[in-house]
């Protein structure tokens, strides 16, 4: 399955990765090769086969409804590129 450059750009946009013309061109080739290669899965008859949900059969444990975390805004914003009064700060978002 080969992809075109417009698809590469749409996917890059979805993934929020800026790509220049050169990269888009290169990625088009690389993605096409990889997708071509994985295409061989089409040979496998998977009719009626359950998709894998967990490799080890086990039941998900649930936790009790207890508040045991929080009150650590310093830690939360400690690594933030920009923060102010414990808020994260980002370029203005337009709704």
């Amino acid at each position: 399955m080969s992809v075109d450059e417009a698809t590469v750009r749409r996917i890059a946009r979805l993934a929020r990765i800026a790509v220049n013309d050169e990269e888009a061109h290169r990625l088009q080739g690389e993605l096409s090769v990889i997708l071509d290669w994985v295409e061989q899965l089409g040979e496998v008859d998977t009719a009626g086969v359950e998709p894998m949900t967990s490799v080890i059969p086990m039941v998900m444990k649930k936790r009790d409804d207890v508040v045991s975390d929080g009150a650590k805004a310093d830690d939360v914003v400690a690594n933030a590129p920009v923060s102010e009064d414990h808020f994260f700060v980002v370029p203005k978002v337009v709704e």
Binding site: M60, K62, D65, V67, G70, V89, V93, E95
Partner: protein
């Protein structure tokens, strides 16, 4: 979409320039689950808090953090499903809904897409004319709330607070079964009532505990469904109505002007009462849902569900039916009383061992009226159910008149105290002593000989005498006794 959707009654159709239109409404209500901690983290789910204070490193999506599900949220979702008479799925799956937004720290929302915890159910609405409507529930799923971005503090910056991030929500999706703004409002109201009865959501719309995404489309009666627009995050029942009315009219105008409706996400502006297109959501959605590999399927067994079902409180529909059947109330009064569980409980306490209709009248007319007037919630009512019951007993036993009872209610409201003692100490008892009443009548008649003469010609004058006698006795005379004695003395009949 569903073709079995019901048609609007004629009077619900909207008049356009070119004929009648039918509006089709479906709602996705996001209701915050009542729990102490968040859906997948042990940080507080409480509203408010200093910025990023109710945030664990999981909520902030620090590298290597993993979600662990809160059992209480699962329990609450199942209980809500039971309250919506819905199918409970013993196995459900959490999926990731992927998109970028600064208040979505993981870059995905953990939600349920293909296999929700609750399937189809139904909510019944009582409309004004005694008409009942069934609104289908498509599904209920658990998901994480997002954080909050503040856009109006700075010209070029937004501030992000993650206190809400990861709080458990139930997204309750209705079928497109509503045909007017009134029905949609009744649906949200009813849903809110059910959730509050169950204690699974506090229904506080001002704090965002409940908000609705409203899907609106219009069509010619009997024709296929039109293209719908989704109005996001409407946060009051009144606004739900306004948004629908505006949006339906907008769509009709567009179509009648030869335009077409494009499927889009819109925002409701409560100041202008209008909806507008959301710029940030213009890009085509491609959420790339897939099962969250950090979470195994959510599983529980039927006995667990059965135990929750057995412990469910009586819900508004059942309570209303019981009030009608057992107390002989009108469906209308019963409907009003069951609107809030605490109000219904209050009423039942008052009605216990008393005339239920009198209790209903007192609660609906006097109590609710007074609560409304002062903007007081019933849980803070200055007049307790026991006090109101005592007042009703004093009327029933003839100790005070209905009129005095209202004064007494007012005294208990503002000063408190035991109603019987108040009546005693303030001499509010009804005078039934015929001697005292006769004396008052004689005095009034003696002072108004002309009126006595007139009354012989015009029996309706008796009312004037009753008033005078009541006035002379400070309202405490038994009105029946006054009436009978007056008629006798005036020689009427």
């Amino acid at each position: 979409m569903d073709e079995m959707v019901r048609s609007a009654p004629k009077d619900k159709l909207i008049k356009g320039a070119t004929g009648d239109w039918e509006v089709i409404i479906g709602l996705e209500v996001h209701a915050q689950v009542t729990s102490k901690s968040k859906l997948f983290s042990p940080a507080s789910a409480e509203y408010g808090g200093a910025p990023n204070d109710h945030v664990s490193l999981i909520d902030a999506a620090m590298p290597g953090m993993l979600p662990v599900i809160n059992e209480e949220c699962v329990r609450q979702a199942i209980r809500t499903g039971l309250g919506l008479k819905a199918r409970i799925n013993l196995k459900s799956v959490f999926d990731r809904k992927n998109y970028f937004y600064p208040d979505l720290p993981q870059g995905y929302q953990i939600s349920q897409f293909k296999q929700p915890i609750v399937g189809e159910g139904v909510v019944y609405l009582d409309m004004a004319e005694g008409e009942q409507i069934a609104v289908g529930i498509e599904r209920l799923h658990l998901e994480q709330d997002a954080g909050k971005s503040i856009h109006d503090q700075h010209p070029s910056l937004s501030y992000v607070d993650l206190n809400r991030s990861g709080v458990a929500l139930m997204e309750i999706v209705s079928k497109p079964d509503m045909r007017s703004a009134d029905e949609a409002k009744a649906y949200v109201t009813k849903l809110r009532t059910i959730l509050r009865y169950l204690g699974t959501c506090d229904g506080n719309m001002e704090e965002g505990s409940m908000r609705a995404d409203v899907n609106v489309s219009v069509r010619r009666p009997g024709e296929p469904l039109g293209t719908r627009c989704e109005i996001k995050n409407v946060n009051s029942i009144r606004f739900v109505g306004q948004a629908i009315d505006y949006e339906a009219r907008r769509q009709i105008d567009v179509i009648e002007d030869g335009g077409t409706i494009s499927q889009e996400t819109r925002l409701f502006d409560s100041r202008s009462g209008q909806t507008r297109s959301m710029r940030s959501k213009e890009e085509a959605h491609d959420y790339r849902y897939f099962p969250d590999p950090d979470l195994l399927p959510l599983e529980f067994d039927q006995p667990y569900v059965d135990a929750l079902a057995a412990a469910l409180p009586e819900l508004p529909d059942e309570k209303k039916a019981r009030f009608v059947a057992d107390f002989g109330l009108s469906p209308y009064d019963a409907g009003i009383l069951v609107g809030e569980r605490v109000a219904a409980d209050y009423f039942e306490q008052v009605a216990q061992g008393r005339d239920a209709k009198a209790a209903a009248n007192w609660v609906i007319n006097e109590l609710f009226g007074r609560l409304n007037k002062d903007g007081v919630d019933i849980v803070e009512s200055p007049v307790s159910a026991a006090q109101l019951g005592a007042i009703i007993d004093l009327v029933a036993s003839g100790v005070i008149s209905g009129k005095i009872a209202k004064d007494l209610f007012e005294i208990v409201w503002s000063e408190g105290g035991d109603p019987a003692e108040i009546v005693e100490s303030r001499g509010m008892k009804q005078v039934t002593d015929t001697g005292a009443i006769e004396k008052a009548i004689d005095e009034v008649m003696a002072a108004n000989p002309d009126k006595v003469a007139q009354a012989k010609e015009k029996p309706s004058m008796a009312g004037w005498f009753v008033g005078q006698v009541m006035k002379a006795t400070g309202g405490k005379a038994n009105p029946q006794a006054v009436n009978a004695l007056l008629k006798d003395k005036l020689g009427l009949e």
